[in-house]
């Protein structure tokens, strides 16, 4: 009997000691923060992660959808109150759809900052296979994606450059990664639009210097040049805009696609300068919705499969109807009923309703021709080619005949028909001092309080230094 007792005690004691060691359990499906810069694979992984963030529907998809229905391209008939509020220019700072855009943007910026700030200090001697060229390229990619995101933020959360010559408030410029320390360095006041624009400009100039001309489907120097051309157009720096657009056109890396087959899962088309590639497997995922999280695809497509919330507006239908035979309508639209049961048309630019994995149009060569044409026209120059030739080239692809002359309206109309549903329309109207809605009232007029987004509530509550946009949010 005694023996049993003693054995029991010993067994019990052994258990005590061995069990405590068992409590150190490590995750099997995540990488701890301190090991990310340990290998070339994980460093590349951290850069790929920024692209993955950029590909989230809240950063690429929803902002475009919202821009289209805030302006006159889409007639929003959906039932989500957060989107209805934006549509009716009654947006509040607590709006859940806007929240995600701001938060995802700064998550991406944080991930990019991590590379931009920390990677240069990583010694190539410590990481097998890592070269200085790799480091420069990785930092260049991070800067391009950071610039792209800052431009998206400043376009949506601040009045455009035209409002006050860019001296109005933009967004806070965060250039450091958060590593658990003092949060006050991340509670910054908003920089002005000009300051944000010049931060973006610097990032893009650095990216142009360090990115290769061909970097597969990742960001390359042409993409940074193209984005810079877009920035200059928004800032009305016509010479620079025409120049950079022309640099992209003449680089030989890209050319106008013969037809419109580049929308559906064709990222290697010569049309694309930088495309957001969505695949069924790249998440981030909601476990109950297989496929990618590009839910905006649902909005742009009718039932079944889609929600049927974002059909063509009558104004856009009329614009195409004014000149029949436009392949951009005939080949890129479908007739169906919308969520409200009305017969209308839907775009087919985002056709993958099975997996929501349609690619996001970011920068394509057509936009460069449109920028060059507009900038040249406004500047009275013909860098690369004349505005008339550029516009006629796009019209011919659409199956339309040549124009004899072009004016600003003709360029703007071509721009609208070409880029509709790609998220450009709202900024095009605002920068041209046009009301967002045909016959629209003061609420949708340029400079109105709610043609831009409020700074989100989470930022207001957690950042004592931030300033809200004017208007009752």
């Amino acid at each position: 009997m005694k023996t049993i007792k003693i054995i029991a005690l010993i067994l019990g004691l052994c258990f005590t000691f061995s069990c405590e060691d068992q409590l150190n359990v490590v995750p099997e499906d995540n990488v701890a923060s301190n090991t990310v810069f340990g290998s070339l694979a994980t460093i590349n992984g951290a850069v790929v992660g920024i692209y993955s963030k950029n590909q989230s529907g809240d950063l690429n998809g929803m902002p475009q959808l919202i821009s289209e229905f805030m302006s006159d391209n889409v007639n929003f008939v959906g039932s989500f109150p957060a989107l209805q509020d934006i549509d009716q220019f009654e947006t509040l700072a607590t709006n859940g759809s806007i929240d995600n855009i701001w938060i995802d943007a700064y998550e991406l910026i944080g991930a990019a900052n991590n590379i931009i700030v920390n990677l240069p200090d990583v010694s190539t001697e410590d990481v097998t296979g890592l070269t200085e060229a790799d480091k420069a390229r990785f930092v260049g990619e991070a800067k391009f994606l950071r610039a792209l995101t800052y431009l998206r933020l400043v376009n949506h959360f601040a009045q455009p450059f035209q409002f006050n010559g860019g001296s109005n408030l933009g967004v806070p410029i965060i250039a450091m990664p958060f590593e658990g320390g003092d949060i006050s360095e991340f509670q910054l006041e908003r920089s002005t639009v000009n300051q944000v624009h010049s931060f973006i400009e610097q990032d893009l100039l650095d990216a142009i210097a360090s990115l290769p001309a061909d970097n597969g489907e990742r960001a390359e120097s042409g993409a940074a040049r193209a984005l810079l051309a877009r920035l200059y157009l928004l800032r009305e720096q016509w010479t620079e805009a025409a120049d950079f657009a022309n640099q992209v056109i003449t680089s030989g890396e890209y050319s106008l696609a013969a037809n419109y087959d580049f929308y559906d899962d064709n990222p290697t088309s010569s049309e694309h300068i930088f495309v957001v590639i969505n695949t069924p497997t790249d998440g981030p995922q909601d476990e109950s919705v297989p496929g990618s999280d590009e839910v905006y695809v649902n909005f742009f497509n009718p039932a079944p499969g889609g929600r049927g919330d974002a059909p063509f507006s009558q104004d856009l239908i009329d614009a195409f109807a004014a000149e029949p035979g436009d392949r951009r309508f005939d080949e890129l639209s479908q007739a169906a009923s919308d969520a409200g049961g009305n017969d209308t048309f839907f775009t087919t630019k985002y056709p993958d309703i099975v997996n929501n994995a349609s690619d996001g149009m970011e920068l394509r060569i057509t936009e460069m021709y449109l920028i060059r044409a507009e900038a040249n026209f406004r500047n009275g120059s013909s860098v690369g080619d004349t505005p008339l030739n550029d516009i006629n080239m796009l019209r011919n692809r659409a199956g339309l005949g040549d124009l004899g002359t072009v004016d600003l309206d003709a360029i703007a109309l071509e721009r609208r028909k070409e880029l509709c549903f790609e998220g450009h329309r709202r900024m095009d109207l605002l920068r041209n001092n046009l009301n967002l809605r045909p016959g629209g009232g003061p609420e949708s007029a340029p400079g109105a309080n709610k043609v831009i987004f409020p700074i989100i509530d989470d930022e207001i509550v957690n950042n004592p230094n931030i300033t809200q946009n004017p208007g009752s949010f």
Binding site: N30, V31, A46, S79, L92, F178, I183, Q187, P304, N463
Partner: protein, 1007 residues
């Protein structure tokens, strides 16, 4: 049986007379303490195999020699010894054995005599539950025990009830109690199945057959729960399954029943023609009186048909239950064996469940120092799921909202598309598959070694193995290209409990019990979630046939727990009792800087009924006071809450390249459990010859170190950091009263009543929390707001007043209480609470001869619910006006003086009417007749006529949810709702499918 016994006795008598004629025959009569003859008393001559039993009249005869000792034994009576002397007659009055009759109650890691318990435990014994016909074990607890609130979220099969022991004790971590089945704490991960709205994840309590349950013990105060340490804060429910008794004849029970299931109550919505008329009337008024026909609105002509969606998603579900139980034992070994099969049809189309289960419990006394045994329960479950709540695949929600003019079928009877994002739900249910198969084994094996009297070493090895497979196949009609999805989850826990228990009584007065033990658990959850799209035809069913297969999840979540614990109880003459316990828990979930936590409790009790001055009153059969204080923890924080991580897989990948992105939460190595400190004071009493039992308790539970998410400035790129900073208090009273109201020879009426009040107060939120205009810290949600200094759960809405009979405008109150026609979010105030002022249950049991009737009611008073879906089902404009509405919407304002439900169609408030406000907040007080069971047991004479084949035959009829008394405004809406187990969303629902109204009949045969 009795006849056999009689023969046996006579035969024995003859035998002994013949064989031992030289000895003398002793005869006598055995009676009990009240003088009634005791039949069946065992009498043996000690040291021989010579024995007999008393007959019906308590008489016996046995032979023996002078000087030999007769041993009289009878269950529940004190054994007696009589030495054979000169007399040939030995009569005996036996005495009740108080010790043996003492009910023993299961507590954490042990048992205790009920009268010596100074922990606060709610005990649900077999007699309270044996006649309840329920689908899962959580329903056994409803209304039965004070302080335990069960909210059955809906009548959907497989949905988990929200179980709260003494209110909500957490904000961001889990609030469900720990469930322990025969010593095995079971896993209850909610995310193992796909989210289909509401609590339709798999109910952890559906894995034990209710018919196998002997008793349930709810551990409530720290005195009872602190032995479970870091997992005790939400209370602990101990489930004990049936065991055999040694030396008992084997009884076999076969229970067969059939059940019919319907919905309790559904909203009254418009028919197709009413809908057309309604829309036409409104459009006409809005058109300045110029007639607008339904055809003009695209709704088709009056009389052109439509669809009764709500009727079409309901049915009368028919279910079959078969249950077989056998229990018995020999001198050394006892067993229980259970087998059950349930084939259940829900009252919602597409919702079915088949469950088969088996259980075997065996104990054996190997020798005088070793006992060994095993409990093993196996369940196999197949469930066809449907969505609920805010989910377009939810039959009830979609049937409420789908326009009645939308056809479901074309002329040839084929499904047609609805034309909007609200799908043709008939097609979804008929063509899609959503099936969950689970296989679960819960059991343990134990040995008990008694090296010395009073010292026991119990060694348990347990397992909880869950195997789950969910298969989804969406048809081409519903999802272009089709979709298949399959999820496999393996959640395995193995554990060991090693306890040493020493119990002894010194000098007859001092009883000491010491328990020391360790508990080690390892849990590993493994998940694969794969889907595939792009199917050529619906006939190709499985993942491999789709064009685009993808792995959505493939991951493993390990966690480990190691605890050392001890409990010491001491009592003096069963009169003064003290008890203390301590536990040290280490958990892999806690941060590296806070890996181990200590939890303790101290309790004292005084059994006044053992004092002579109380006994002199001749009133109390039992009276005791007790108090306890102690701490417990809550470890429901997730698997790796303290680490800073980069996410990989789908989160970080891009264009086929692997990537990583920072998770939204930075590291916090200080993270630890939430800790609750509970004070509990109670009284227990029995009086009027045991006819009245009254217990009451007061408790105050302060939870500190509440895990709150400190929101980080978005500029950091992180969402929030979890810190242990909050503090919350729950306090309340619990009352339990059970009475025997009438007791005559043939008729008995018993009542059990319980009532609980709970007040919740948030004492502290994090310093950087959002604040309201009064400067109080808050956690804000769209419907509720938690406010520091007030309850965690407050509905925080714009106050809706009604329709002004003169103007036809809808009116609300602004924040200052003035009427407004255009309120904003700044006008939100506290409008109600989802937490009841008091709640509880009452059971009345009547028995008359062979009949018994029991009526179980439960109630809740003073709480509200918000039915968010009414924003769509009321008013004219939701989702562009395409959705159906409730019938009261026909009552819109037409002229001054109208007491209307809806504003004037010309009012500026017409489309604002259904915005979120207290209009959707409804009074959820209710009294529900939860269960009525009428049974009839065949009398002995009838059993005899059946040839003695059965020892018992019982027929019964049961009705569940027969009647609910509730406010008028709750017409068509179930008051017992909540669509989320998250503590911050209690009492909110979009559209809960109603509870099931069940009728069943059956028979129970005992052999």
């Amino acid at each position: 049986m009795k006849v056999q016994k009689l023969f046996g006795t006579l035969f024995m008598l003859l035998l002994t007379t013949v064989a031992m004629s030289q000895e003398k025959t002793i005869t006598g009569t055995v009676i009990d303490q009240t003088g009634v003859p005791l039949p069946g008393v065992n009498i043996v001559v000690e040291g021989t195999s010579n024995g007999t039993q008393t007959d019906f009249d308590g008489n016996y005869a046995i032979t023996g020699n002078v000087g030999q000792v007769l041993l009289f034994t009878y269950l529940g009576q004190k054994s007696e010894r009589r030495t054979i002397g000169a007399s040939n007659v030995i009569d005996l009055q036996m005495e009740e054995d108080a010790q043996a009759l003492q009910e023993v109650v299961v507590i954490g890691y042990g048992n205790q005599e009920e009268r010596k318990i100074i922990q606060n435990v709610g005990i649900v014994k077999q007699e309270a539950i044996e006649n309840l016909q329920v689908v899962s074990a959580d329903q056994l607890l409803q209304g039965q025990s004070a302080g335990t609130q069960i909210v059955n979220a809906s009548g959907v099969l497989g949905s988990a009830a929200v179980i709260r022991v003494r209110g909500v004790n957490s904000i961001n971590s889990g609030s469900q109690p720990l469930i322990v089945i025969d010593g095995v704490p079971i896993t209850d991960t909610a995310g193992n199945t796909l989210n289909r709205g509401g609590n339709t994840g798999i109910n952890p309590l559906s894995f034990v057959n209710p018919n196998d349950i002997e008793s349930l013990t709810v551990l409530k105060d720290a005195g009872a729960t602190s032995i479970y340490g870091s997992r005790g804060a939400n209370g602990v429910i101990l489930i004990t399954t049936k065991r055999g008794r040694k030396g008992e004849n084997t009884t076999v029970t076969l229970d067969v029943s059939t059940q019919f299931s319907q919905s309790t109550d559904v909203p009254d919505i418009l028919t197709a023609d009413e809908f057309r008329q309604f829309k036409s009337d409104i459009a006409t008024i809005q058109n300045g009186g110029v007639f607008v026909s339904p055809e003009d609105l695209g709704l088709g002509a009056i009389g052109s048909g439509g669809t009764d969606w709500l009727g079409g998603v309901q049915r009368t579900g028919i279910s079959q239950n078969y249950n077989l139980g056998a229990r018995g034992g020999s001198e050394k070994t006892s067993f229980f064996f259970g087998l059950d099969f349930q084939d259940t049809e829900g009252f919602i189309i597409g919702n079915d469940q088949q469950r088969a289960g088996a259980r075997i419990n065996i104990d054996t006394q190997v020798n005088d120092w070793l006992k060994a045994g095993m409990n093993l329960g196996i369940t196999n479950n197949r469930l066809n799921r449907v969505g609920i709540e805010n989910n377009i695949n939810a039959p009830f929600t979609t049937a409420f909202l789908q326009s009645p003019v939308v056809p479901a079928f074309d002329d040839e009877g084929n499904f047609v598309q609805s034309g909007s994002f609200i799908p043709n739900i008939f097609a979804r249910v008929a063509l899609n598959t959503d099936e969950v198969k689970t296989f679960r084994v819960i059991g343990n094996a134990f040995t008990e070694i008694t090296p010395l009297p009073g010292l026991t070493w119990r060694s348990e090895f347990g397992i909880d193995k869950l195997n789950l497979e969910e298969f989804v196949r969406q048809a081409e009609f519903n999802t272009p290209g089709g979709l298949a999805q399959q999820i496999w989850v393996n959640e395995d826990r193995w554990l060991t409990n090693q306890t040493i228990n020493y119990s002894n009584t010194f000098n007859n007065d001092h009883t000491l019990t010491v328990l020391a033990g360790l508990n080690y658990e390892e849990t590993l959850r493994t998940r694969s979630n794969v889907s595939s799209t792009g199917f050529l035809t619906d006939d190709l069913r499985n993942l491999g046939s789709g064009a685009t297969p993808q792995v959505l999840n493939g991951d493993r979540f390990p966690s480990r727990l190691f605890g050392l614990f001890s409990r010491v109880s001491y009592d003096y003459k069963g009169k003064y009792l003290v008890e203390g316990s301590i536990r040290r828990d280490g958990s892999s979930r806690f941060g590296a800087n806070n890996r181990f936590g200590y939890f303790w409790s101290a309790a004292a009790g005084w059994v006044l009924s053992e004092e002579s001055f109380i006994q002199d009153l001749n009133f109390f059969d039992y009276l005791s006071f007790r108090a306890s204080i102690g701490t417990v923890g809550n470890d429901r924080l997730g698997t790796f809450p303290s680490l800073g991580l980069f996410n990989a897989g789908g989160f970080g990948d891009y264009n086929g390249e692997s990537g990583v992105v920072p998770a939204r939460r930075p590291a916090n190595p200080d993270l630890k459990w939430e800790e609750s400190e509970t004070l509990d004071i109670g009284l227990k009493s029995t009086f009027l010859n045991g006819r009245v039992n009254f217990n009451m308790a007061y408790f105050k539970k302060t939870t500190s170190d509440l895990l709150l998410n400190q929101i980080l400035p978005p500029g950091t790129g992180f969402n929030s950091i979890s810190r242990n900073v909050g503090e919350m208090e729950n306090r309340g009273w619990e009352f339990e009263l059970s009475t025997v109201n009438v007791r005559t020879e043939n008729f008995e009426w018993r009542t059990n009543f319980n009532l609980t009040t709970i007040d919740n107060e948030v004492l502290a939120l994090n310093e950087d929390a959002a604040t309201d205009p009064q400067g109080r810290r808050i956690i804000d949600g769209p419907i509720q707001r938690a406010i520091e200094g007030e309850s965690l759960n407050n509905f925080f809405l714009i106050r809706y007043v009604g329709i002004n009979p003169q103007t036809g405008d809808a009116e609300w109150l602004d924040v200052n209480g003035n009427i407004t026609n255009n309120p904003g979010s700044g006008d939100r105030v506290v409008t109600g609470s989802p937490l009841p002022d008091f709640s509880g249950g009452m059971t009345n049991t009547f028995t008359y001869k062979g009949f018994d009737l029991s009526v179980l009611m439960n109630y809740s008073y003073g709480n509200e619910v918000v039915i968010d879906g009414l924003r769509f089902a009321d008013g004219n404009d939701a989702i562009g006006g395409i959705v159906n509405v409730r019938r009261q919407n026909l009552n819109f304002w037409r002229q001054p003086g109208d007491n209307a439900f809806l504003p004037s169609p010309n009012s500026s408030t017409f489309d604002l009417f259904n915005q979120r406000s207290s209009q959707q907040q409804l009074d959820a007080s209710y009294l529900r007749i939860k269960n009525v069971t009428l049974g009839y047991n065949l009398p002995q004479s009838a059993l005899d006529r059946l040839g003695g084949l059965f020892t018992g035959v019982r027929f019964y009829l049961t009705g569940t949810n027969l009647l609910t008394i509730k406010a008028d405004e709750m017409d068509g809406i179930d008051p017992e709702v909540t669509d989320d187990i998250d503590p911050l969303f209690q009492g909110e629902s979009f559209f809960t499918a109603p509870q099931a109204k069940l009728y069943s009949f059956g028979a129970r045969l005992t052999f």
